[in-house]
């Protein structure tokens, strides 16, 4: 319940923060929303010697469209994503996702950047960013670099940032016309991590699917794409057959662990069911529904 001792810094700029990270390396942790870090510290599962609070750094929390992308500052609070009219109207998959992260109070502090950087397969944004084919921009001592979301999640709680890099923003390519997306999350109660969740983003030409990306939450050691399920949709007419095939494929390719949320068999079958539901909802939105 009481965290261990640490040294605290509150840099005012991203450069300052990067310098601190360079200096202190592995023993330092970034504090953004703190809604994952602080609970871990209170149980002393995380015992960083240095905590770098980046909440004073300006310019990291806007939601704007630019250059064919939705650009979200890494410090953007989930509540702001949830309340954004722009997101609700043009990025419904993202709106679906922000709404079901933890609970409303946690969302007032939790950040999109933190949700991704924590690299927890149980977090919700990773699957959604995979479905969007997003990219993240990281800043380090050698400047900035863009990382495709497909290359971002390495292992459980491990992302591909260097020890001295910080996420600055997330960039979602604005979907073309005739696109739709949906996030369906099964949770035991509000505030829980997903028993399983599915993010679908697809584009259609008439009734035929021209592109589809599907992300899965909490059914593998890392956030994952259901590529076989995607393949079952792309180029197909999205009727019951294709949708069912995608559900079966997603269930087979995921790798859930048994826990109090469910057995492996149950989680797999859930993935089948909610993949179908997410596809149907995405399709409805693609058709303007």
């Amino acid at each position: 319940m009481i965290p261990g001792k640490f040294e605290y810094f509150a840099p005012q700029t991203l450069d300052e923060a990067v310098n601190l990270l360079s200096e202190h390396g592995y023993g330092a942790k970034i504090l953004a929303g703190g809604q994952s870090l602080i609970p871990a510290m209170r149980f002393r599962l995380a015992v960083p010697e240095i905590v770098i609070d980046i909440n004073r750094i300006g310019g990291l929390s806007a939601i704007t469209e630019s250059d064919g992308h939705l650009v979200i500052g890494a410090l953007t609070r989930e509540a702001d994503v949830d309340e954004s009219n722009l997101v609700r109207q043009k990025y419904p998959l993202l709106a679906d996702t922000a709404r079901v992260i933890a609970d409303p109070l946690v969302r007032n502090l939790a950040t999109v950047g933190g949700n991704l950087a924590h690299a927890d397969p149980a977090n919700d944004h990773p699957a959604t960013m995979l479905a969007y084919g997003a990219e993240v921009v990281a800043v380090g001592p050698n400047g900035e670099r863009t990382i495709s979301i497909d290359d971002f999640f390495v292992d459980l709680f491990e992302n591909s940032l260097a020890d001295d890099e910080i996420l600055r923003e997330i960039r979602i390519p604005t979907p073309p016309a005739d696109s739709g997306g949906a996030y369906v999350k099964m949770e035991r109660k509000v505030g829980d991590f997903a028993t399983a969740a599915v993010a679908v983003q697809l584009t259609v030409d008439g009734d035929t699917c021209t592109s589809a990306r599907i992300g899965l939450t909490n059914v593998a050691p890392t956030p994952m794409r259901a590529m076989n399920a995607e393949a079952a949709l792309i180029g197909q007419v999205l009727g019951d057959d294709a949708i069912r095939a995608a559900g079966v494929a997603a269930a087979a390719e995921c790798d859930p662990s048994p826990d109090l949320r469910g057995s492996v068999e149950y989680k797999r079958d859930l993935v089948r069911i909610i993949t179908m539901r997410a596809i149907r909802q995405a399709l409805q939105r693609a058709k303007g529904g």
């Binding site: 319940m1 261990g4 001792k5 099964m186 109660k189 109090l260 469910g262 909610i274 539901r277």
Partner: protein, 787 residues
């Protein structure tokens, strides 16, 4: 009868008024005084080192690194307590024994192993991290059936090396066997009601202050029974009882979890005795969930017999009761299985037999701490599930089946086959009202239509009889203390009053409801009456608040004490009016001379006269005390109807509607009664669908935080619909029965019955709670049902 009786005007606010609570202003403004709010000069903090093993020898405890933490002043171990006068063991409320701190071995995961005392909370936590305990793990026994094999002995401190604690029976075995032999229909069902945890939002804690100059111990404690706790502390510590003061201040929910004496309390008192300073202990949520007293954990084998007309004739129950590492359930001493034998429920049957065996396992001790009226939740779950299975098996509508089998109104007082005398009831009336409120016929039609389309909808009924208000002195005691309760009232010269009680509210609204009873009896406005509970230096002795006993016992004491005052008031009035007592009529708040209503004296006039102009020869003052020994328990009852829709894809159960009709006899405050029912329903929903304490095969608690021990939020909780009937208790001075736990008792089987009702046509007969989506999904897929 569903009209609440109101006989006083709103200015007086006697019984029946929806009076706003008098205690609310401080809670609304953050000015409550909970144990963690108590701060005394020089106060130290205590934190506890806990076992990571369910069963292990303790080879060594090294406290040196902990003692080196700046701010840490002491580390207390079992050996220290032993040296201080055998304080390393303590009695439980069921006359078993329990370790305070171990000297040889630990017997449950998260067991208290050592206590660190420091100048601030943070240093104490640092100290806890640095206490080094060397354990030798032992095999743990987690399943009580395994435990009964006596291969791994939990309590080798006992003379008899066995995990079998006790055997208890009720009812008539021969008569029951006879009835079963002659039965036309017999059904059999195993049920497991898992371990759950009451999880009041405030955890448990204490501030102990040993004043070494006055040689006086003051204890602020999250206690539902401060007097009983004071007596126990006196007996265990040897401190004289008049030198111990227990103050139970504002309590953030109890529900039974603040009745047991936990090792942390004893460590805190010892820490204060040793350091001579006040010491505070406030447990974390994970400690609370993992080590404090649980409830349920009953493994049940039940059989029900019926005749050819579908009348229930008999019930046979065998149960294994998993008590963890000590029998620390706060049951009345003659009832190790509590009031479980009320298991014949609302039905008129011929014979019943119940046999229960208590068993030790390597889990925390307990366990009736969850709003259950001493095992009535288990009993009602059993009978309402069995009645529903029998009804479905016979192809009868579950409502019709119940109506046919209910005890009839003219049969009250009713002698049950297991020896209880039910005071009053109107089971048909309650069920009829519930069916009307929910439009039962319409729902059955809807269900038939949906079933034809392959949709799964269920309707579940629970028609429960509760048994509360423990209890008559001829049968009930806890650790020898009889289960009376008390009220002491003093009227001041200006006509205001103060009243104190042996009970202790943890949110039930006593500051308002007791005032309303006194207002009803004496006509003093409820707003003019100060209500106090919880300070053992000033309150009359009582057994506390749990098992819905406050209204039945202390509420009765309030009425009797009020009536004693009224007797004296009449004498004073006669003196003031220069009339004889026989010529006086009492009217709400005044006596007047028969036939001359303008010749009157108000209770305020009389109160003033009690100090300034009382009759010669009479003692001054206007006060009374009553210790009430109830002649019987009371039997609130109700009928609940639950409607569920089941998601064939995910197995999720959605409670679409829940109608609850409750009968608690005469009502003191309908607003508060509604609140008790809503809260109770939610604490019935939660175990039905969400809550379960889960252990792995090594006895490690897997659900030890709110991340995995799931309490419903406002989103999961349905909009409860409540109704009432009013059937007064004939033996209670106010005709009131109590309501606190009815809904927790009645709700789970309504939900379970609804789920099984939805799935019965597929061949499903029973599902154990909690009914998780996976359990339902498994049944659906096994029976060939998919989205």
């Amino acid at each position: 009868m569903t009209e609440v009786r109101v006989t006083t005007p709103p200015e007086i606010s006697g019984m029946g008024h929806r009076m706003k609570r008098k205690e609310d202003p401080r809670f609304l403004q953050g000015a409550g005084n909970y144990v963690d709010d108590v701060k005394l000069p020089g106060m130290l903090y205590l934190d506890i080192v806990r076992s990571p093993y369910a069963h292990a020898k303790i080879l060594n405890i090294d406290t040196s690194q902990a003692l080196a933490v700046p701010g840490v002043v002491a580390v207390i171990t079992g050996k220290d307590l032993e040296a201080a006068g055998n304080l390393h063991w303590m009695p439980t409320l069921m006359s078993d024994t329990q370790m305070v701190l171990p000297t040889e071995k630990v017997v449950y995961y998260a067991q208290e192993v050592a206590a660190v005392v420091a100048t601030d909370r943070y240093a104490a936590a640092d100290g806890v991290e640095l206490v080094e305990v060397a354990y030798e793990p032992l095999p743990a026994v987690v399943d009580p059936h395994e435990a009964l094999k006596d291969e791994v002995i939990v309590r080798d401190d006992k003379e008899k090396k066995t995990n079998h604690i006790w055997h208890w029976e009720a009812g008539d075995q021969q008569a029951t066997d006879q009835v079963f032999a002659e039965a036309a229909h017999v059904i059999k069902q195993s049920m497991y009601i898992p371990r759950i945890h009451v999880s009041s939002i405030e955890t448990c804690g204490m501030v102990a202050h040993w004043d070494k100059i006055k040689e006086h111990l003051t204890v602020y404690m999250t206690s539902q029974a401060p007097h009983a706790h004071r007596t126990v502390f006196a007996l265990v510590s040897g401190l004289p009882e008049q030198k111990i003061r227990v103050i139970s201040p504002d309590i953030g929910g109890g529900f039974g979890g603040k009745v047991p004496v936990y090792p942390g309390y004893v460590c805190t008192i010892v820490a204060s005795l040793v350091t001579g300073k006040p010491v505070k202990w406030m447990e974390d949520r994970s400690e609370n969930l993992q080590a404090d007293s649980f409830a349920r954990d009953y493994h049940i084998e039940a059989e029900m017999a019926a005749d050819a007309d579908g009348k229930i004739t008999g019930l046979r129950v065998k149960t294994v009761a998993d008590h963890g590492a000590a029998d620390a359930a706060a049951n009345p001493s003659k009832f190790p299985a509590g009031l479980y034998s009320v298991v014949t429920g609302s039905y008129d049957l011929q014979a019943a037999h119940v046999a229960v065996d208590g068993v030790y396992t390597n889990k925390p001790p307990g366990g009736i701490a969850y709003r259950c009226s001493f095992r009535v939740t288990e009993a009602v779950h059993l009978i309402e599930r069995m009645a529903d299975i029998m009804a479905h098996d016979l192809g009868e509508d579950p409502a019709d089946f119940r109506m046919k089998n209910f005890i009839k109104p003219e049969q009250f007082p009713y002698q049950s086959p297991t020896g209880w005398t039910y005071d009053s009831g109107n089971y048909h009336g309650a069920l009829e009202l519930a069916m009307e409120m929910v439009d039962y016929e319409g729902l059955r039609r809807e269900q038939a239509e949906k079933r034809a389309r392959g949709e799964l909808m269920g309707i579940g009924i629970s028609s429960f009889t509760e048994i509360v208000g423990a209890g008559p002195s001829h049968t009930f005691d806890i650790l020898g203390l009889k289960m009376f309760d008390s009220c002491e009232i003093r009227i001041h010269p200006t006509g205001k009053a103060i009243a104190r009680f042996g009970t202790k509210s943890q949110g039930q609204g006593h500051e308002t409801t007791y005032a309303q009873i006194i207002a009803e009896e004496l006509g003093i406005p409820a707003g003019d009456i100060q209500i106090e509970e919880g300070d053992t230096d000033t309150a009359p002795y009582g057994l506390g608040t749990y098992a819905s006993r406050s209204t039945p016992v202390a509420g009765a004491a309030t009425a009797i004490a009020s009536r004693k005052i009224l007797d004296k008031a009449k004498k004073i009035a006669a003196h003031l009016l220069e009339a004889s007592e026989e010529d006086l009529v009492w009217d709400v708040n005044k006596f007047h001379v028969k036939g001359s209503p303008d010749q009157f004296k108000t209770i305020q006039d009389i109160a003033f006269a009690a100090y300034t102009n009382h009759p010669p020869g009479m003692e001054a003052g206007l006060e009374a005390v009553n210790y009430y020994d109830p002649p019987n328990l009371t039997f609130p009852f109700g009928s609940y109807i639950c409607v569920v829709d089941i998601d064939k894809g995910t197995g999720e159960v959605h409670v679409r509607r829940f109608v609850a009709v409750d009968d608690c006899g005469n009502i003191i405050n309908p607003l508060i009664v509604e609140g008790q029912i809503h809260g109770g329903l939610t604490m019935g929903l939660a175990p039905a669908l969400y809550e379960e304490i889960v252990y792995d095969e090594n006895g490690q608690n897997l659900s030890g935080t709110f991340m995995d021990y799931l309490l419903p939020t406002a989103v999961e909780t349905p909009k409860w619909e409540v109704g009432k009937t009013i059937t007064p208790s004939p033996h209670h001075p106010l005709g009131a029965k109590g309501i606190g736990e009815s809904a927790t008792v009645g709700a789970p089987p309504a939900i379970a019955n609804a789920v099984v009702d939805a799935l019965w046509h597929l061949g499903v007969r029973h599902v154990d709670i909690p009914i998780t989506p996976e359990k339902v999904w498994k049944l659906l897929r096994e029976h060939g049902v998919d989205e």
